[in-house]
């Protein structure tokens, strides 16, 4: 084919390609609009769900307190005149009330982690760990646990949320202990680029590799509540808090050899969305 033959063909091809490009741009604009709209709907629906979860948890608390109050009263004033099975039933009610209270508290915390505004401020990680350990004092004593804290740098984030994050991780390290082995939880940190990687290491029962992703999901529980009590929200809450700090969390573990939770948080100069 010589050049003069080819030229009209190339012109036609060029015209087709121009038209195709315009069509592609129109299609992409339509897709972008659709995506934007879906995103907005998703955000609205998430906000509604969060409001609902918060309101439902909050409103469940009042009747629960009434049940707790009257069952305490019943125990104090009427337990002596009750039969053995009556007293046993009452204990079961109180246990269930306590479990539900924990669940509601965790749900409220989860909801709070979504709602609270994170203004990235320099945070002294050592103070956060101190605060978290203080809140766990009775669990630490009850489990004869040792908390070892290495030198910790500053990070950037929300002090309240970070305290909750490490409270959950330290609490897990104390709770998931091997029978007859007093828990030891070691906390250390090292810079990792513009982030800080915090390690919370325990000597507990460890986690099977196949469950190491699942444990971060809401209501994921690997053990019977009688063996290891919990609501299945703790690590989902940790994940949410870490996400709010534009960080990430994972776990390294072998069954029977403890677990190391690694949390990446913005360094003191950092910040997130």
């Amino acid at each position: 084919m010589n050049e003069s033959d080819e030229l009209p063909l190339l012109r036609r091809k060029l015209a087709r390609e121009r038209k195709a490009r315009e069509e592609a741009e129109t299609l992409l604009e339509a897709k972008a609009r659709e995506l934007h709209e879906r995103n907005r709907e998703l955000r609205r629906s998430n906000e509604e769900l969060e409001r609902f979860a918060y309101a439902a948890s909050h409103d469940l608390r009042a009747p629960l307190r009434t049940i707790a109050g009257f069952s305490d009263l019943l125990q104090r004033k009427e337990a002596a005149s009750m039969s053995d099975s009556g007293r046993e039933f009452l204990e079961l009610i109180q246990e269930a009330v306590s479990q539900m209270d924990n669940l509601i508290e965790d749900l409220l915390q989860f909801s709070r982690a979504n709602r609270v505004e994170v203004n990235f401020e320099p945070i002294d990680l050592a103070e956060v760990i101190d605060d978290a350990s203080d809140r766990l004092r009775s669990l630490i004593e009850q489990q004869s646990a040792t908390i070892e804290v290495g030198p910790l740098p500053q990070v950037s984030g929300h002090a309240g949320l970070l305290t909750r994050l490490f409270q959950n991780l330290i609490s897990n390290g104390c709770k998931f202990a091997r029978p007859g082995v007093p828990p030891v939880v070691r906390i250390s940190a090292a810079p990792d680029g513009d982030q800080v990687c915090v390690r919370v290491e325990d000597n507990g029962i460890g986690i099977e590799p196949e469950y190491q992703e699942q444990i971060f999901q809401m209501f994921a529980r690997l053990h019977n509540a009688d063996d290891y009590p919990g609501t299945g929200i703790g690590l989902a809450l940790c994940t949410r808090i870490v996400e709010r700090h534009s960080g990430r969390i994972d776990v390294v573990s072998q069954p029977g050899e403890g677990a190391t939770f690694r949390v990446w948080l913005p360094g003191p100069a950092g910040g997130g969305s």
Partner: protein
């Protein structure tokens, strides 16, 4: 049918038979969009069948042969465009065995309007795979070409035998076995 199939078909025709052949096909079929295909669009698959029929007539080959050649050509294009998807498997059999459950799921993420064929796997054995193709379109030879392209890409010593179960290309059995 996914726009990428049209754009790549014309690339193949132009590459192998020249620009004039592309123009001839477009003149003969006279599609509503004047042949302005975009990879992100979706078009009438009957137009593709018309192009293939025209190309078969112009080159003196069968429609099935053209479809199979195009399938092989398109697999190479997929390797270049979506290396992550292809490299998720370590062998042709592993890749082909994951088409229904993994590859098509990923394709729909990229092209939500894609209408894909279905595959069943009555035999999955070490080094041997049987896939039963089912589609409302007469494109089993095209699937044969894609499978051949896949085997060629992985360089495995395999061969594929197609048995048409419907005589219309809408159901076919592909038996992938080691080269005898």
């Amino acid at each position: 049918m996914m726009g990428i199939v049209f754009t790549e078909f014309f690339d193949m025709v132009e590459h192998r038979h020249g620009l004039r052949m592309s123009e001839q096909l477009l003149d003969a079929v006279a599609p509503a969009n004047e042949g302005a295909y975009t990879a992100v669009g979706n078009y009438d698959h009957q137009d593709m069948m018309r192009y293939v029929a025209e190309l078969a007539r112009d080159t003196g080959r069968s429609v099935d042969m053209i479809l199979a050649e195009f399938g092989e050509y398109l697999f190479e294009v997929f390797v270049r465009r979506y290396p992550g998807l292809i490299e998720s498997a370590g062998s042709a059999i592993e890749f082909l065995g994951s088409v229904e459950a993994f590859i098509h799921v990923e394709v729909v993420k990229l092209y939500p309007d894609a209408e894909l064929p279905h595959f069943e796997y009555p035999v999955r054995e070490q080094g041997r795979l049987v896939m039963v193709y089912r589609s409302s379109r007469w494109l089993a030879p095209f699937a044969l070409g894609l499978i051949r392209g896949c085997i060629a890409h992985f360089g495995d010593a395999l061969e594929v035998r197609m048995t048409d179960l419907s005589e219309q290309g809408t159901r076919a059995r592909f038996e992938i076995t080691p080269v005898a």
